[in-house]
């Protein structure tokens, strides 16, 4: 059955309304990293060579707060379950793929907008350099793929948890652990040996790698990191689909 773009449009608009009606998390995850970037930038510039310090603080805060934004995705999925609206949507003529695109499209846009806002802030206020169109293209690719990874991870989380409290606890703890382990809070070279060994298990590590490689115009490095991110996204999306097939909210 061909996808109905009008129905997808209805869903995108509706989900945008839902985000717009309750934007607290999104605003917090944009404002907080900006404040931290301003406060931490001098420290990172002093500890690392100037521009490397700027890159570290901008990409680090971006990865940290985009990982914490897993909760935005998780809430978007969890609330459809707790409000019982998911089954009502399923009972409409909309195909499952249309429902998925309508829901995920809006959230992906939100995640990408968050990252774009932080990168824009880093460039404008902290002097983050994006050397040329190629680097910009790679950066867009890295941001998009990181957004897809977060979307898949957040959806899996939203389908696995049973309550907002559980979601909040898991996303906060996992966000901080994966952020730290990925080298977003401190450069990997400054971390303990065991943490350096364990770092590649964190999606945050690959997000940092993709963003750093993109900012230096390194196509191979960006594609490699992006490939790992998409593989992780595939695993999370597979788990989410498995959960969807087993989730039955009582009407």
């Amino acid at each position: 059955m061909p996808l109905d773009t009008q129905r997808i449009g209805v869903l995108l608009r509706h989900n945008l309304i839902l985000v717009g009606r309750d934007p607290g998390h999104l605003i917090a995850y944009i404002v907080m990293p900006m404040v931290l970037m301003l406060l931490e930038a001098p420290l990172y510039r002093a500890a690392m060579r100037g521009s490397l310090g700027t890159t570290q603080v901008v990409t680090g805060m971006l990865v940290m707060f985009s990982l914490l934004a897993l909760s935005i995705v998780g809430y978007a999925v969890l609330t459809e379950r707790t409000w019982q609206t998911w089954d009502r949507l399923r009972a409409t003529p909309a195909a499952p793929l249309e429902l998925l695109i309508g829901k995920a499209g809006t959230i992906l846009a939100v995640l990408v907008a968050q990252q774009a806002a932080l990168l824009g802030f880093g460039a404008r206020v902290l002097g983050l350099r994006v050397p040329g169109a190629k680097a910009m293209g790679l950066l867009c690719l890295a941001v998009l793929c990181w957004g897809v990874t977060l979307l898949a991870g957040g959806s899996a989380l939203g389908l696995a948890v049973r309550s907002p409290g559980q979601l909040s606890a898991i996303s906060d703890i996992a966000g901080l652990v994966l952020t730290g382990l990925g080298g977003a809070l401190a450069p990997l070279s400054a971390m303990p040996g065991w943490a350096r060994v364990a770092a590649p298990v964190s999606p945050g590590y690959w997000a940092m790698a993709a963003l750093r490689a993109a900012l230096s115009g390194d196509t191979v490095g960006t594609l490699r990191a992006v490939g790992v991110l998409l593989a992780l996204a595939g695993v999370a999306a597979g788990y989410a689909c498995w959960r969807v097939s087993r989730t039955r909210t009582r009407l």
Partner: protein, 283 residues
């Protein structure tokens, strides 16, 4: 028309539906009654395409729910038992998303929202968020959202739960109007007087299948009524009777002084309990 045939659904060791069959003609209201766990909601979920049956078929306006899900759902309006609305969005936004997904666009959507909002008395609430509304108001919004696209078949699963008398009357009036316009309506409820108000035919569900189906009068005619004799000393005697007018003179002969005589016709409650007893005894 809604047509369900031979539906079987098991959840692990539990059999929710066991050969469930039901037909609802255009313009007909069928009251689906049965105890909790009888299989009513499972049937609604299967008819809405949310749960896959182990066996059997459901057709909505001639479209098989499994083979042509899009076409079947486009002709179906569902108001589930649980409130299922977006509490942070306004009433208008809620109606717009369900109307939009049902295929209504721009002017047609605006007109449909205005029409159902008037019919369900939610017009003054259109700009308000759903979350803070009362349970009865939310219930009306939910029913309105099922009516927007004028579906050929309406599945209303306990639509008046938690509704005050005014809300209940408003909802029943909408249901009657839609049936008069040719919609086939399957109405699930535990509140049997509503079915009498609606003039609905009945389908009694027990143990996962329809055990009795027909017009209320037909089904009630099979049950005995009751003659209640109140004596002057304050005691009471109840006598089951299929023909109270014929039986009464014989009963009165030789009795002590009476203070009251009531003849009670069988009610839907009596029918329901009688059928339940039959199922239990058979089991």
């Amino acid at each position: 028309m809604l047509r369900a045939q031979g539906l079987v659904k098991r959840f692990g060791a539990q059999t929710a539906l066991d050969g469930f069959g039901l037909t609802v003609a255009p313009g007909e209201i069928v009251g689906l009654i049965g105890h909790n766990g009888a299989g009513k909601t499972t049937f609604v979920e299967i008819a809405a395409g949310l749960v896959r049956p182990d066996a059997g078929t459901v057709e909505i306006a001639g479209f098989d729910v499994r083979r042509h899900p899009g076409a079947a759902r486009a002709r179906l309006g569902l108001a589930p038992q649980q409130l299922a609305l977006y509490p942070t969005a306004t009433v208008r936004d809620n109606l717009a998303v369900f109307g939009g997904l049902a295929g209504l666009r721009r002017r047609a959507l605006r007109d449909a929202i205005a029409e159902v909002a008037a019919a369900t008395q939610v017009e003054p609430l259109l700009g308000r968020r759903v979350g803070p509304l009362s349970g009865g108001q939310q219930r009306r919004v939910q029913t309105a959202s099922a009516l927007l696209h004028r579906p050929a078949v309406l599945l209303l699963d306990e639509p008046t739960v938690g509704a005050d008398p005014d809300t209940r009357q408003a909802l029943l009036s909408v249901v009657r109007d839609r049936a008069a316009a040719g919609t086939a309506i399957c109405y699930t409820t535990h509140y049997l007087p509503e079915l009498a108000d609606l003039g609905a035919s009945l389908a009694v569900v027990a143990a996962g299948r329809v055990i009795a189906r027909g017009e209320q009068d037909e089904l009630l005619a099979a049950l005995p009524g009751e003659i209640r004799l109140g004596f002057a000393d304050g005691t009471e005697r109840r006598v089951p009777s299929r023909h109270p007018a014929d039986d009464l003179p014989g009963l009165l002969a030789g009795l002590p002084p009476l203070s009251t005589v009531d003849i009670r016709r069988p009610s839907l409650d009596d029918l329901y309990h009688s059928l339940r007893r039959e199922v239990r005894d058979a089991a």
